[in-house]
Amino acid sequence: MPDPAIHLRSVVKRFGEIVAVDGLDLEVPEGSCIGLLGPNGAGKSTTMKMLTAQVIADAGTIDVLGHALPGASKIARAEMGVVPQLDNLDTTLTVEQNLRVFAHLYRLERAERGPAIERALQIAKLTDRRGSKVDELSGGMRRRLLIARGLVHQPRLLLLDEPTVGLDPQVRQELWALIDALRSEGTSILMSTHYIEEAERLADSVTIMAAGKAVATGPPAQLVAQHAGREVLEVYGPPARLLEAEREAATAGIRTRRTGTSVALMGVEQRNGNLPEGVRRTANLEDVFVLLTGEEVT
């Protein structure tokens, strides 16, 4: 069995009194896409930054592509691509210039640079905008350029930090297709996100983080079956009705979660009698996320 692309063991990171990452274990098998799911402040971004050695762990061990961090992070960084959450493109440069700069920073040989830039332009579907300044691009184009920049050197491992945050649904789906294609090609991917659907669609396995810890790990379907069952009963009504439904569920030993307008009763597939009136639906990863993190999905 090949070494995992990323392997974190008991990793801890503190910022003063705050424990941002608290004994995290995480594994990204070679060629797989792993989703790092968690609410804001769960420690996802800190974890991502530890993988490029911009944040140094206080305890635990981190191996990336077989290289121990932070000592050998530079070797690891040469073989990985990073797509940051914050847009940090050079805005006064053109699309092509941005890619050329990173072809140099990733040390591509002179003969490799031209084809690599062309390929990245095609990935980003920006070939006809190669001469446009970044300032002139739409939000979706800029995000595609960020991804292409992280891929210009054809990395073995790609770190995606909230890759589709703030994008409209159509652009998001385009990027999902791109990420899926990369995974099919064998690129290992670690993707942090707080979009449940994104993790559910793209990730072979998901690690749910809360307060710096991994609270659950596994394929999305397995996590759903394990924590939320197959079916969920969604009970709607005024606040008093929802409270009553929660009490009834607690008496029957059923786990619940609140949404803004309803109470969801988990794992009701085996129960038919003595349940409040509501709408049955298939359990999903969002149910698991809210159950385990106590956070509503935004």
């Binding site: 490029t52 944040v55 940051p84 940090n88 050329r100 490799e112 791109l178």
Partner: protein, 275 residues
């Protein structure tokens, strides 16, 4: 998106040799320089304008303003005296301000260093590459006052060809000083303290506009601790005649200034970028 997926599936073989990975690598510094030079293409006009016009104004104002009152200083025509001295001012302005503000903006607002550090580049190479680029610019812009002074009568001398090199060495130290300040301070407003307490006194007491020899002994001693004073001395001696070991000492002081500030700038920026 099918087209993009096809490109990936039929992609080129992964790029091969990226060379040895170690500390302070030429390929990483080259990458930083390429980024700086490419970006410079979009703002060179404004930078070149301020870096040439500003010292030229100093030269004209002091050279002809004071020059009408004082014809000779330290045995030289005052215009020649100021024209050679203002080279150091041009070097200072072309290196320390871009370093302070540029580094801070890239760190705080543009998040440029996050992008660069995700590539196989370390803080040490970022500082080195950026300081080298600013010192190349300082070496170039530093010559402008000399050319203006020549237009007003300064006699050209073959030894003046080393002035860009002197400006480069001095500019490297001042660029590193600026990077260090950007690494140490948390607010761009705090740069005013540095400008008022360090930069302005530095260029006013470098011997640019008046010789230090007429000042009290303790000021002359302090002057020897001012790297800009050593820049002024070296440029003047390139223009009017070398002074042997004294110039070796001036050059040594500038090299020492550059090396010490280079390491301090790396340390300061590393503390900011790596947590």
């Amino acid at each position: 998106m099918g087209r993009a997926a096809d490109v990936i599936a039929t992609g080129l073989p992964r790029p091969r040799g990226r060379g040895r990975i170690g500390r302070l690598e030429a390929s990483a510094i080259r990458g930083v320089l390429v980024r700086e030079i490419t970006n410079f293409g979009s703002y060179w006009r404004a930078t070149s304008f301020s870096s040439t016009v500003e010292p030229a104004i100093y030269l004209l104002a002091f050279g002809f303003g004071f020059g009408s009152l004082v014809s000779q200083v330290a045995g030289y025509d005052y215009v020649d005296f100021v024209g050679t001295g203002v080279v150091a001012t041009a070097v200072l302005f072309a290196s320390v301000f871009p370093a302070m503000f540029g580094t801070f903006v890239k760190y705080s607002f543009q998040h440029t260093y996050d992008a660069i550090l995700a590539a196989p580049v370390d803080t040490e190479e970022i500082v080195t590459g950026e300081a080298l680029w600013m010192s190349i610019r300082a070496g170039t812009y530093g010559c402008v006052p000399l050319l203006v002074a020549m237009a007003f009568g300064l006699e050209p001398r073959i030894d003046m060809l080393v002035v860009p090199a002197i400006a480069f060495v001095s500019g490297f130290g001042w660029a590193c000083f600026g990077i260090m300040i950007a690494g140490l301070l948390n607010s761009i407003d705090n740069f005013n303290y540095v400008t008022s307490t360090v930069i302005t006194p530095t260029f006013l007491t470098a011997g640019t506009f008046f010789p230090l020899s007429g000042l009290p002994q303790w000021v002359q001693v302090l002057g020897n601790l001012n790297p800009l004073h050593h820049t002024v001395e070296l440029v003047r001696h390139a223009a009017f005649g070398w002074e042997g070991w004294a110039d070796v000492a001036h050059l040594g002081a500038l090299v020492l200034f550059g090396v010490v500030l280079w390491r301090l700038a790396i340390r300061a920026l590393e503390r900011k970028l790596i947590t």
